[in-house]
Symmetry: C2
């Protein structure tokens, strides 16, 4: 059987657009003489639809769109992710479904059995789990069809079992001879290798061909890298779809041959592509075409601008430089050069008159000569207000520019530099900001070398440097990684060899600044644990996470 892996980029709730995309990919598959075309999890409505699943009108629209695909796509078998409405209580009224249809007839329907409910996933909130795992016959095969998480409970790979059964094992025991998994598996750095291992392992373990079709593109904070695969029963990679792009590859179960398309060569390249796709999809799927970025002369705003220009075109990307008297002369040069290298729009709006108007109005307690956090924040908020004025006037979305290290410890101003519709690099630690920036410069200098080499500074007071206020990034970043991504206790981090006072200070800052992150723009998820939907901490609480007190 010749199978097409149709790796599409749906838009949440765009039933007409998604339907047309599914029709077009099915036609491509037919023209390639495929017997079967496979689409990702929930591809009719896009993943994740979240609480739209609680609206009757959404479910109705989803059913209507699904039925029209069943009616329209003829002459090829289609496996498709959809929302299935369940006839009876108890439990949630819908299931995360996959159907096989052909020539107007629905031949099989399965429901996702393992419903991820952790990190960014809330599937138990919406769906009843499927209880059965039965292979079904189709064109000489006995297909074992699973949905995403269903394939993530193999005892060899996950010794700590999150669920009480393994649907893949059940399907293999029931003599499936072809495993198909449809997925919407979010990207993070390193995830592709994890998924590849799972699929290769399952193929080898059960000696079955294993086809995996993933969604691609960005939806809100989640990115999907695609990289759909087919593995032969020997565990050899036989088909591979592109990374962060819509794609269609074929795999023939009789010959074990398939298309191998190029993917990113390393993690830094993946992250660079992730940023570009993430910005482009978020902005466009929100109905915008243009963006505006506040440029400081630093690396964070430079990378944000570069990613945006690549995603949306330099003609749709405006950099606004808002100097104060604490701004170094170098930053005038660097920001202009950056915008010129990219071909972006560039404007200068000095903030001193506005800052001084604030200080005058607040002269009962503000003092330009005697600088504190108050005066620094006013500058950042004046800049935020200017950027939002550009947004209001031109219909461009403001992109905020804070990196993960800053956002973690609250080294950023709420309603100031945190303003914007999307926080592009808020899940990228400072060291990776440099690495990805250098990747952008791989062919020619886009981000001026001076930006890559100067000491980071917020320039909110005279001669300020990040390192006056924060531990050096080479210490801060690994401590944050251990605390946030690896969920290590402060004590364990001290045991890794870090100074106790530094660890406790950093943890205290992370905890104390939860309130800022609660009001942050959505940020593209790039690591295994991003701030936002996947990390839900109370704000009003007293647990300091300092040795259990």
């Amino acid at each position: 059987m010749k199978i097409a892996l149709a790796q599409i980029n749906p838009i949440i709730g765009d039933f007409i657009g998604n339907g047309n995309k599914i029709r077009a990919f099915a036609l491509r598959a037919k023209n390639l003489s495929c017997d079967l075309v496979i689409f990702p999890e929930l591809s009719v409505c896009g993943y994740p639809p979240r609480d739209l699943l609680e609206r009757k009108s959404f479910i109705r629209a989803c059913q209507k769109a699904t039925q029209s695909l069943v009616d329209d796509i003829l002459g090829i078998g289609v496996i498709l992710g959809f929302v299935d409405q369940l006839a009876e209580a108890p439990g949630k009224p819908i299931a995360n479904g996959a159907m096989l249809f052909e020539d107007g007839k629905i031949l099989e329907v399965v429901h996702k059995r393992l419903l991820p409910t952790y990190d960014v996933f809330d599937e138990s909130r919406y769906f009843s789990p499927g209880a059965k795992a039965e292979p079904f016959a189709y064109k000489g095969h006995n297909i074992g069809l699973t949905i995403c998480e269903d394939a993530w409970n193999d005892l060899d790979l996950f010794p700590v079992q999150a669920y009480d059964w393994d649907p893949v094992q059940t399907l293999a025991e029931k003599k499936a001879d072809l495993l198909i998994n449809i997925a919407a598996s979010p990207f993070h750095a390193g995830k592709r290798a994890i998924r590849g291992n799972i699929m290769a392992h399952l193929a080898k373990k059960y000696h079955l061909p294993c086809v995996y079709v993933n969604q691609v593109g960005g939806n809100d904070h989640l990115l999907f890298d695609g990289t759909s695969t087919a593995h032969t029963p020997g565990g050899t990679l036989a088909a591979l779809a592109g990374e962060f792009e819509e794609d269609l590859v074929t795999f023939d179960t009789s010959t074990g041959q398939g298309d191998i398309h190029p993917v990113c060569e390393n993690e830094v390249e993946s992250l660079a592509r992730a940023l570009v796709v993430g910005v482009g999809d978020y902005v466009r799927k929100c109905g915008f075409s243009k963006v505006v970025v506040g440029l400081s002369g630093g690396i964070d705003s430079a990378l944000t601008l570069a990613a945006a220009a690549k995603a949306l075109g330099p003609e749709n990307t405006l950099g606004v430089f808002m100097p104060s008297e604490y701004t170094s002369q170098q930053n005038f040069t660097d920001t202009k050069e950056l915008a010129d290298n990219l071909g972006c729009g560039y404007e200068i709006v000095p903030i001193m008159p506005i800052f001084e108007a604030f200080l005058t109005s607040l002269s009962s307690f503000c003092d330009k000569e005697n600088f504190g956090v108050t005066e620094q924040n006013i500058q950042a908020r004046a800049r935020g207000t200017i950027l939002m004025a550009y947004s209001n006037k031109t219909g461009a979305m403001v992109l905020s520019t804070g990196n993960k290290s800053e956002v973690a410890v609250g080294y950023c101003t709420l309603y100031g530099d945190m303003s914007g519709g999307l926080s592009v690099i808020s899940d990228l630690p400072k060291d990776m900001v440099y690495a990805v920036s250098r990747y952008f410069n791989r062919e020619r200098e886009i981000i001026p070398e001076s930006i890559l080499t100067k000491a980071p500074s917020a320039e909110l007071r005279p001669d300020q440097k990040d390192q006056d206020d924060l531990p050096p990034y080479e210490i801060l970043d690994p401590i944050l990684h251990a605390y946030i991504e690896d969920l290590k206790d402060p004590e364990e981090i001290v045991d890794m060899g870090y100074d106790r006072d530094v660890v406790e200070d950093i943890v205290r800052r992370v905890v104390r600044n939860e309130y800022k992150r609660r009001q942050a723009a959505p940020g593209l998820k790039l690591t295994s644990k991003a701030f936002g939907e996947g990390r839900r901490y109370p704000v009003a609480q007293k647990f300091k996470d300092q040795d259990g007190s």
Copy 2:
């Protein structure tokens, strides 16, 4: 058996404070010669701890605190909500537990069986469900112990079953002769009556005394009203603890007698108390003691200030009036009178010099003579920046003042009037803002009558009135209620008798402004469906909810 219902207000993660509170209430119960004292769900750590439950140090601290209570509280039986660590996979590594201990010995442990995973609840994210429901013998009783949701699946009351079994029914069938439910059941208007009905129904249905102990106080956006109850086997209310206050009431199973403490007389009084407790707890539990509120002269900021002054004392409450040239003279008088009535601090900071500095700097596209959204938003953001400067300088938390009707349709400025650490009335529709405001005036005029009677206006352009930009609140509010709380389709709302164009315009605004709400401060939950954690919609999406397109 004489039972004490110990309705406490824990702070999330404050193991020492919560432990001391539990000890003190247990002592009070002992002094009243009670045989058993009962504390709410997860009272050792406070509810909801959210992702703190994923931190090993938090679980360890919780275990340590629990053990020290077991060791310390002697001479009385104690039922207590705690986090139980489970020995084995598969599944989540902890359970939402309740234990009975006495004189240093843990006598019984049960695990919550029904884990709410909808609206504000994420319990399947953290906990493995309990599978058993067995009564246990204690002091002549056979106790059926359940935790919150466990009692919310009775087929008579919930014909659409959310879960596949009813633990209360199982316990009754197994000859329990006393039902005890420990809970952390969030408040919304009307919820007390629902809970009362459930408990009375269960008591009558199974002819058993039924004791219910709820948490009280605010934690982040969630409020807990307490109003713990005991019902006799006949379904008569025999004990009732106070509303929105810590309390201890007793109930004697042999006599059926108990303490009945007063609770609020009506919904408006409950809402007023909710606001006061919500502001007070959030501010204090975040480690603040003072607040600052931007006063416009309108009803929303007036009610917010009044609630804050009541909660924190007028000496800790500052109102800042920030007039522009579009501010009416009446608002100078009204805001001053409001602050004087309350005894709060009051300051005036005119924004025109700041506004003009912005317009001058942005003169390439801003125009004071030709007003649009851009120029209006600049004013709102200048005010937000001023309030945040007060916050930075004085350590007071800014309270934002938008009501639910405004926040729903986006009639508010992100980083402007939406700035603040807590959004006090963002779940209160405009009609209820008036009703609760009049309640605050029940004994003497606190909110000046002029504020209660003037036409609402944002005063961001000459002669602006809300009704120029929005449908009248008496039309807007019921449509929003139908769409947001009752999840009605636009078509169903039209069928209720509303104009189609108006309904579609309002729904479009609600959908389009999801991005603003995503960055809003936590807002106190007062209705059955609040914005925030309990309502999770994608931002980047194309579903317009207009007849399935």
